[in-house]
């Protein structure tokens, strides 16, 4: 009887264990769409053998609870790549907006499209037109009209850049709040995990913590440090502590030079966060580097054009026979010149088409004014004293030794190049995230055999892609050589 009872006991345990395992499977199915849920697998434990008359009989089995199928190495890699992808995505979005400011709408006139490049050409061309008929009132009005369009578009672009910077500033402040909320949650989960499951996987609690860390990775660049008893500490990529096991360190906002800076305690961590990953890193890079850099170029362009044109107009004789005055409002400094650029002259007779010593109907100065658009180092700059008191020596220029059109083209080209670089980064990082998610999904839902299969897919894809890349390189090199030979022949 003892043997039959023991056998029933073993069978009952096995059935209970199977039932528990089925419950875990059912839980997996029920949570299939739950964000961040990690599949659980049953864990089995051998029971002590049944001994009858000194001989062991059978061995029972007990289901000891679920174990989540997670891999911290992979999820951490995924989080890191997500931080880079989010940063480049946020920066790319800002750069795209900036680029549209300097890309005219197809088919629009320069005035409505904000095409500064066309405006520059049209403005200096208006002097060429005036040169042919220096006393023609309509041509004189044409100069002021072209000047108004140019200054309006430059100041409009500067204003839009400032507005975009202000929007990004608000986003930065908002992200700070979201980061605080997540770090507080992670610290609380740390406490719960360390209390309830210091040695083993904490299942749902770890799922929640992983989900929080994943969301945090979308927002900010972080380092994760696993601590004792299943704890997790988090720092920014520059090493500032955000979570230390059960304690979170909140970021606070402050205003420095009119823009939002982020602090932990009394330490300003803004520069460390710039370029450090996550949406915040991308936004800060755009706010503190890309936009100021573009504004500086626009300021230099506005200052260069207005200074050169004003100086040249001052050197001529206007329609009233007087020395010419300023066409543009003069700036006291380069910074802010684009935003404040405007036409000062209201009377078209003030345009000094005649050269010094000519009658008011002359055109020598109109020629010199028109040439400002074509020469990289106009003679009027030699010895010119600027508004800040600096006197330019021979060879010194205001637009990096370029004509206004070339200077603007270089700026637009440089911006386009930055957009292209960030686009490439973003494409690669997003692809990497997709790959890792595929791998992570595979690991979270399969057994060891399927895991090997997932690994094999990654390896095969890499090898096939490397082959495609290698052959394409060969094709392109050959095509370029054949194209050259064909051209020569």
């Amino acid at each position: 009887m003892a043997t039959i009872n023991s056998a029933f006991g073993i069978m009952t345990q096995a059935l209970d264990a199977d039932q528990a395992a089925l419950s875990i499977v059912a839980n997996n199915v029920a949570n299939a769409s739950t964000p961040g849920y990690t599949k659980e697998i049953p864990q089995w434990q051998e029971d002590a053998p049944v001994t009858i008359n000194g001989a062991p009989y059978g061995q029972g089995v007990t289901e000891t609870g679920p174990r989540s199928v997670r891999d911290r190495v992979l999820t951490e890699r995924l989080d890191q790549q997500q931080q880079l992808a989010s940063a480049s995505n946020a920066r790319l979005s800002a750069l795209d907006t900036m680029q549209t400011l300097f890309t005219p709408d197809s088919g629009s006139t320069s005035a409505t499209a904000g095409d500064i490049g066309n405006d520059i050409t049209a403005f200096f061309s208006s002097f060429t037109t005036l040169e042919a008929n220096p006393t023609n009132d309509a041509d004189r009005q044409g100069v002021l009209s072209a000047a108004a369009t140019l200054s309006s578009d430059i100041s409009g672009a500067a204003s839009s850049l400032n507005a975009q910077r202000s929007d990004l500033d608000q986003e930065v402040a908002g992200i700070g709040g979201q980061v605080n909320s997540l770090t507080a949650s992670i610290a609380q989960l740390n406490q719960q995990i360390q209390t309830s499951s210091p040695e083993a996987d904490a299942g749902t609690l770890e799922d929640q913590r992983e989900e929080d860390v994943s969301q945090l990775s979308n927002l900010i660049g972080i380092n994760q440090i696993t601590t004792e008893n299943n704890g997790l500490s988090i720092t920014t990529t520059s090493g500032d502590l955000l979570v230390s096991e059960g304690t979170s360190f909140q970021m606070t906002n402050g205003t420095v030079d009119g823009i939002t800076h982020l602090f932990v305690g009394t330490k300003d961590i803004t520069s460390g966060l710039t370029g450090g990953g996550g949406e915040l890193g991308g936004d800060l890079t755009a706010r503190d580097q890309d936009i100021p850099s573009s504004l500086a170029s626009l300021d230099q362009l506005a200052y260069g054009i207005s200074t050169e044109v004003n100086a040249q107009n001052n050197a001529g004789i206007d329609m009233n026979g007087q020395a010419g005055g300023n066409i543009f409002s003069s700036s006291s400094a380069v910074t802010g010149s684009a935003l404040t650029m405007s036409v000062k002259m209201t009377d078209a007779n003030g345009v000094a088409a005649a050269g010094s010593g000519q009658g008011s109907g002359g055109n020598l100065n109109a020629t010199a004014l028109a040439n400002l658009g074509n020469v990289s180092n106009p003679p009027i700059l030699n010895g010119l004293t600027l508004s800040d008191g600096q006197t330019l020596a021979a060879g010194q220029t205001l637009l990096n030794g370029q004509t206004p059109s070339d200077y603007f083209s270089s700026f637009v080209s440089s911006l386009g190049s930055t957009v292209s670089e960030v686009q490439t980064e973003n494409t690669a990082q997003t692809a990497s995230v997709t790959q890792l998610q595929t791998q992570n999904d595979a690991l979270s839902s399969v057994n060891l055999n399927d895991e090997a299969s997932a690994m094999s897919t990654l390896e095969t894809s890499y090898q096939a892609a490397a082959k495609v890349f290698s052959i394409l390189s060969t094709v392109m090199t050959s095509a370029l050589n054949l194209g050259q030979e064909t051209t020569v022949s």
């Binding site: 894809s461 096939a464 394409l472």
Partner: protein, 108 residues
């Protein structure tokens, strides 16, 4: 044959992102065919391909970066596999052998 290099590279980048090895193998075969036929293409087509080669640098750079990222991911996964294999070795003991056996039983 579609000889648009840009399309080819964009397609390869997308396939590599989603680890579509079958599509990548197809693309590799297409590229091999293109490479084989290149010398016998008409001059117009050769010139067109040369022009495409000059204007698809950005796509090629992006593809290369995805390839590099994939290699980095592959390295991470390889290290992970080594780690797991080490763990399996450690588990070769009486109790763990039992666990593996029962795991199969549970799957059944």
């Amino acid at each position: 044959m579609d000889t648009s290099l840009k399309t080819l590279m964009l397609e390869a980048s997308a396939a590599l992102s989603r680890l579509d090895s079958a599509r990548l193998e197809e693309l590799a075969l297409s590229c091999q065919a293109l490479n084989r036929e290149l010398p016998s293409l008409s001059r117009d087509k050769q010139m067109d391909l040369a022009r495409q080669s000059r204007t698809t640098t950005a796509q090629m750079v992006a593809f290369k970066r995805i390839l590099e990222a994939t290699k980095a991911n592959l390295d991470v996964m390889s290290r992970l596999r080594d780690l797991r294999e080490g763990r399996l070795e450690y588990l070769v003991s009486d109790s763990c052998r039992w666990i593996r056996t029962e795991s199969r039983h549970g799957d059944n």
